[in-house]
């Protein structure tokens, strides 16, 4: 059970990381990146590091996402070809 959950989490982590890198729409990339942070927080909790999980969830999934979104609104949404 634990191993299966770990496997699913790692696969999701890889998928979100690849999507965040390859997405042309920067807003989509930022949202996928916040999902990545959320899964990473779950992984920290699975590795018994609740301190890091709290930090990752608050800073990685919350604060940096909003800062990225603000930056996108102030610049351009599409990546240049």
């Amino acid at each position: 059970m634990g191993t299966a959950l770990n496997l699913v989490l790692i696969l999701l982590l890889l998928a979100t990381a690849l999507l965040a890198v390859t997405a042309r729409d920067l807003l989509a990339a930022v949202i996928v990146f916040s999902v990545y942070s959320l899964i990473m927080a779950l992984m920290w909790q699975r590795l018994q590091a609740p301190d890091l999980a709290l930090t990752e969830a608050a800073v990685g999934a919350g604060v940096t996402t909003v800062l990225f979104v603000i930056t996108i609104f102030k610049t351009r949404r599409r990546e240049e070809e």
């Binding site: 608050a58 909003v66 800062l67």
Partner: protein, 249 residues
């Protein structure tokens, strides 16, 4: 050509990293270097040496106090860099593009945010004050306060938000983390011990445990307030806009 070179470089890097991974000790093995060097000392003597309730708090705020102080300084420097590029808002009324948005936030969202923000702040206060006995601590609590300010600002706009936490409140508190750490650390020097230690041979043989707890809480509150204010200031600096508009009434 460029792509082939990049592919070769990345493949070489991957092989190198995989070699390093193969050389790593197995996870959870009792013979690991991480387990045999400093961990036994931490586990056995942290309570008498640092007088903290929790070993992890002892490590973060005492054994590796310099480390944590450096991290706090890094966050402060990040704020300084953001302000150096974007500039501080002028005293008084400020506003951002959220205030000028043509689509006003719906009543449901506004009511929910108004309802939920106090609870988020309450949770972060719990995280900060219970930091020395449970997971969490100053930095996490500060980040949660910063998150609640972000929610409030994105829904109600910068004008309302900056009235809640004006510049004259934020500016002195931004340095609270660094200052609190430095002051408590210096108290250890004054007491005849080392920087950031809670053993003060010049004052008494072993401090009263409750005093140590209060000093730890002081450092945690400093880190929390400083972190929250730094995050809020970065947000305000990024979201604000130059042109003057009349505040929405």
């Amino acid at each position: 050509m460029k792509k082939v070179a990049a592919l070769l470089f990345i493949s070489a890097l991957a092989v190198l990293l995989l070699f390093v991974v193969a050389g790593m000790p197995p996870m959870g093995d009792p013979g690991n270097p991480t387990v045999t060097h400093v961990i036994p000392r931490y586990l056995e003597r942290a309570e008498e040496e640092t007088h903290t309730v929790n070993v992890i708090t002892g490590i973060i705020l005492n054994y590796r106090g310099y480390d944590t102080m450096g991290e706090v300084t890094v966050i402060f420097c990040a704020l300084a860099a953001v302000l150096a590029v974007l500039g501080r808002e002028r005293r008084g009324v400020i506003h951002g593009f959220v205030d000028r948005s043509e689509v006003p936030a719906s009543v449901i969202v506004k009511t929910m945010v108004r309802f939920i923000v106090p609870f988020i702040i309450l949770f972060s206060v719990y995280t900060i004050l219970h930091g020395e006995t449970s997971p969490g601590g100053g930095f996490q609590g500060g980040a949660v306060i910063g998150g609640s300010m972000i929610i409030f600002t994105t829904i109600f706009g910068l004008y309302e938000s900056s009235r809640r936490i004006p510049l004259k409140v934020r500016a002195p508190l931004e340095g609270a983390a660094v200052m609190g750490f430095f002051l408590v650390g210096s108290l250890g020097l004054v007491g005849g011990g080392n920087f950031l230690t809670y053993a003060w041979p010049r004052v008494a043989q072993g401090l009263h445990p409750s005093l140590v707890v209060w000093l730890t809480v002081l450092v945690e509150v400093g880190i929390g307030l400083g972190g929250a204010m730094v995050l809020t200031s970065i947000l305000f600096a990024m979201i604000r806009e130059e042109e003057e508009i009349a505040p929405a009434s």
